[in-house]
Symmetry: none
Subunit: 242 residues, 2 copies
DNA sequence: ATAGATATTTTGGTCCACCAATTCTTTGTA
DNA sequence: TACAAAGAATTGGTGGACCAAAATATCTAT
């Protein structure tokens, strides 16, 4: 098998070694569970050092392609990478926050989630959603609990959307926007408005009509987005004055 | 800086070391372009050997998170756009369920980008978009060039949308779906269909009517999504038969 | 002949010395 | 004093020795 991979030039970047190995492992000719040749053998076949082989294999292990077992060998896993979908979320975390842009993207994703949920939500989930509305209503004067119920409301919708990538993305975005959401709901009148909006989304979900749900969530996102941006602007103004 | 990462236990899997570094690098407190501490220093701070650090950093480099320069140091890369470099077929590692989810999320984001672009696109950008359509038309028989023009078409729309978060997200998603896009355009008839769809999006953008643009991009995404899923399914079936 | 214990071999993991590449500091010259 | 060149220090890259873990082979007892 290692003869089939071919040699690479000494000094080749470890990424190129990884690519060579990956191309071979994803060529479809290797069965999951197969044991790869030993590091020393791979190094010899590829014409590079064992360190480079180890580094390439470490990357493939992190990506979930192979399973490295000390004393035993390296095995092809053949299962889906759990790490790769997370790259979308890393991208959100790199560099300076772009809050206004995040707010816009988040709106679209929340609307999409709601639309999917309109068709997929179970009765039990709908019932639970009602509980979150009740919790928000009961805690108009308690910001922490209100926000918690608010968050659970959105979480449940994203869950009901049955799209893990979407769910994870929304989670990451929410964590980035969390501080602004909390600041935007500082007063009880604002909480009341937010409750009204959530109630409308909930009522639309009860109809299970995707268009109605989309309209209600769009309205909520529009208002919530303005609330967030106002909070952001106030903060900027205070920053200038401060 | 390295003191802020904390120590890890000796014998910790290199994947855990990579995760630790990754969490730190995506914490938002590090500026892109920043030089990380030297490998020897990281090893000391983390309480592990330099080999383990090297292996973890090698993985992060392959993922596009860092840039390792011999003799100079290791640098945090600039942006989300640099994640998942083209050298590897990332999409092959994702698995069918996550890939399908990603296709759905991508559709929504592309539609959103197109809608924004309808209002924001400059005349120069519109003209350039027409050039990409021409390039696609001229290269129906040359898959590599066709796909390159296809990609540039979408890139330009995302750019015109003037939302960096959205742009970066779409970039990462494209990296993850690239291999399936390429395989899905294997035949000239498929390229012709794709060209027709892109032309309709372009014509709608010429009107600058967001609703028309949304409708055209939605239609394109629906067809393209089916094409992608069909390609994915064929690959899965072949894998089983192989 | 078979099962269990022990020894040996093979595998991945770690460490260190040394080399290649780059950066920083010092020295020499105009 | 400013600039260029040389030297030293720092950085990542490589290979080999040795250790830890697991697999395989050999030996012994029944």
């Amino acid at each position: 098998m290692s003869a089939a991979i071919g040699r690479v030039d000494t000094g080749t970047a470890v990424s190129a070694v990884a690519k060579r190995l990956l191309d071979y492992l994803t060529s479809g000719t290797i069965e999951p569970g197969t044991r790869l040749p030993a590091e020393r053998q791979l190094a010899s076949s590829l014409g590079i050092g064992r360190s480079a082989v180890r580094e390439a294999l470490a990357a493939l292990e992190i990506l979930g392609i192979v399973d490295v077992r000390p004393g035993s060998g390296t095995y092809l896993r053949g299962s889906a990478s759990e790490l790769l979908p997370e790259t979308l979320n890393w991208g959100l975390m790199l560099g300076a926050p772009r809050t206004k842009e995040l707010i816009a993207v988040r709106s679209q994703l929340e609307i999409f989630a709601a639309r999917l949920a309109a068709e997929l939500m179970t009765d039990a989930q709908l019932h639970q959603l009602g509980n979150h509305i009740d919790a928000m209503r009961s805690n108009l004067g308690d910001r922490t609990r209100f926000i918690e119920a608010d968050l659970k409301f959105h979480l449940l919708i994203a869950q009901a959307a049955d799209n893990q990538v979407l769910f994870d993305l929304l989670q990451s975005i929410r964590s980035l926007l969390r501080v602004w959401v909390e600041r935007g709901l500082a007063r009880e009148e604002e909480a009341q408005l937010a409750l009204d909006e959530h109630s409308r989304v909930y009522e639309a979900l009860l109809t299970r009509d995707p268009n109605a749900v989309e309209a209600a969530m769009s309205a909520h996102m529009l208002t919530a987005g303005h609330r967030l941006e106002r909070t952001l602007l106030q903060s900027t103004v205070e920053g200038v004055a401060g």
